[in-house]
Amino acid sequence: MAGKELVIVEDLHKVYRMGEMEVHVLRGITLKIDEGEFVAVMGPSGAGKSTFMNIVGCLDYPTRGHYILYRQKVSTLNTNQLAEIRNKKIGFVFQSFNLLPRLTAVENVELPLIYAGVPRKERRSRALKMLWAMGLKGREYYTPSRLSGGEQQRVAIARAIVNQPILILADEPTGNLDSVSAREVMVIFQRLNDQGITIVLVTHESDIAQYARRKLIFRDGKVVEDTGAVALQPLLKGGTA
């Protein structure tokens, strides 16, 4: 688990206001993820996994605490800078694929490159290469509705990695897939991890979590178990129950 620190969160809190009610979703999370790790985030629903992922993915701000991504203090950045981080450093993979239904597979993969300002021709060739690497040759110009779930998720992964991110955040990527497609997707993640991309993955299924080398278990907004915590002992301040 050697390598640079990629994600550092310290005493991360998130409170949602719902009218009069305050919902404390994250209650002080402190952890560190190094470059090249493959982390599975587990726990019951409502434990704060998705909120944690949103903050790590720069889609949301923490209410309190610090988040440092790649030596950059995210909590101080504005929305445009966050958008740029999402574009260049992070790739998202969702349970429901989240492909744009009107666009073809290759156009979906091109999306991040459009916002990165990559010229049209280069965009197309890079997107095609990604699709081919995902084993989708011949499906480049299909719209998502004509692709199987596994194929759609592979398009989504191609989109996530097309801009060469350092971190992939996958929120239950196999939740909508049959076991064969799920295995295919996990093999791809493993391969990407072997190439050095850091992967954080939320899952309910322990056999999916087996692919990861480290497990974080969330409960009630706290990390209650961290299999990689040994190395990070000094950072934990009462995280374990």
Binding site: N54, G57, L59, D60, T79, N80, A83, E84, R86, N87, K88, F92, F94, N98, L99, L100, R102, L111, P112, I114, Y115, A116, G117, R120, R159, N163
Partner: protein, 410 residues
């Protein structure tokens, strides 16, 4: 995202996914732009019509009729009893400083025969100055001269319509003879084409003969020396009101009218008449123009409405785009461009429609439309502006969406 051609292409593609919806949304802008163009075309056409009519009437012409007027300006006694004379006309030319020259005339209606052709038309006995005052060029031949007047020569100049009806377009009538009231007249010219007066009378449907000839040969001798109309030319357009006053004073004096007796003649300032008509037309056109601009605004509201629908329909798309790195400004631009493209296309169709229906109006309604490219450009510019203004709110709404909520949106 830079605003490139590509953004427009993407917007076009998105809009083409809802063709009917986009078409209906554009309709408001299309109608707005189209009607603005037609209205302005009509307005400018009306203005030009008034100008050409005034010019066509002659240089700064005033008309004097027999008979009195009522306060409203409507002429009553339509020359039933003639009160103005040839001497009056000559006196006006001589004594009114603001009048350069005068002519006078009488008219009758008669059958005109040429060979086996005949035509019922107006016979106008006028003086040679008439052609100068009316500023009316000839299509062919010459107008009659002072000499023809003095001698009472049986010569005539045909109005264009009379010429067309008796001879047709191919034949040169100069030198031919026509029979008017059993009197043969030699044709010496044909007047150029003038068209109808604002009142509807066709100026091309008459024959001009020397005034004296009319008196002696055609109209009987009972009213010799009287004229039914005097044409007076003022020295300038600005001097017309002055000229009118001088003529009135002179004629009242010549007719020995006491102060409390109303005029026994009517002076008609055709410029005033034409301007009054134009003013009425302008009010109407302003009203219609107002309605047209309202429809442009309504069109804009239609765009805003449909863009709001589009934003909420595509909430998830917005979330996805933000997740992969779209900045708020990227989303804003995307939606703004869509509404601008909508209004641009609507505006272009509106311009085409406006020009097309203008042509139709001028063709079917015989109304001169004046279309300038500038007007089309401005109308189109307004359409684009409408797209920007009314697209801003939905686009801003889209860009302010929270990416997490947008991604969760079903």
């Amino acid at each position: 995202m830079r605003i490139s051609l590509e953004v427009f292409a993407v917007a076009l593609k998105t809009l083409s996914q809802h063709k009917l919806r986009s078409a209906l949304t554009m309709l408001g802008v299309t109608i707005g732009v189209g009607s603005v163009i037609v209205m302005i075309g009509m307005g400018q056409g009306a203005g030009a019509l008034v100008r050409t009519t005034i010019q066509g009437l002659g240089s700064n012409m005033l008309l004097v009729f027999s008979g009195s007027t009522t306060a409203g300006g409507a002429r009553t006694g339509t020359g039933a009893n003639l009160t103005i004379t040839v001497e009056d006309a000559k006196a006006i030319a001589r004594e009114c400083p603001s009048v350069t020259m005068t002519s006078y005339g009488k008219r009758d209606f008669s059958q005109v025969v040429y060979g086996n052709q005949n035509w019922y038309t107006t016979i106008s006995g006028v003086t040679p100055e008439y052609q100068l005052i009316r500023n009316w060029p000839l299509a062919t031949g010459t107008f009659f001269t002072q000499r023809d007047m003095e001698r009472g020569n049986t010569v005539c100049v045909l109005g264009y319509k009379v010429y067309m009806n008796l001879f047709g377009p191919e034949r040169d009538p100069v030198g031919e003879e026509v029979i008017i009231h059993r009197v043969p007249f030699r044709i010496i010219g044909v007047m150029g084409r003038r068209g109808a007066l604002p009142g509807g009378q066709d100026q091309d449907d008459q024959i001009f003969i020397p005034f004296t000839t009319a008196e002696w040969k055609l109209l009987g001798s009972a009213l010799v020396g009287y004229a039914s109309i005097i044409f007076a030319s003022a020295i300038s357009e600005d001097a017309m009101t002055e000229a009118e006053q001088q003529i009135r004073d002179l004629l009242r004096q010549r007719h020995h009218l006491p102060k409390d007796v109303p005029d026994d003649f009517t002076i008609m300032n055709l410029k005033d008449v034409a301007e009054m008509q134009a003013a009425t037309g302008k009010i109407l056109i302003k009203l219609l123009g107002g309605i047209a601009s309202v429809s442009l605004i309504v069109g804009g509201i239609g765009i805003m409405n449909i863009m709001l629908v589009s934003v909420s329909e595509r909430t998830r798309e917005i979330g996805i785009r933000m997740a992969v790195g779209a900045k708020r400004s990227d989303v804003l631009v995307q939606f703004l461009i869509e509404s601008v493209v909508l209004s641009c296309i609507g505006g272009l169709i509106g311009v085409a429609l406006g020009i097309g229906s203008s042509q139709l109006v001028s063709l079917l309604g015989h109304f001169p439309m004046l279309l300038s490219p500038l007007v089309s450009l401005i109308a189109f510019g307004f359409a684009v502006l409408v797209g920007v203004v009314f697209g801003l709110y939905p686009a801003n709404k889209a860009s302010k969406l929270n990416p997490i909520e947008a991604l969760r949106y079903e």
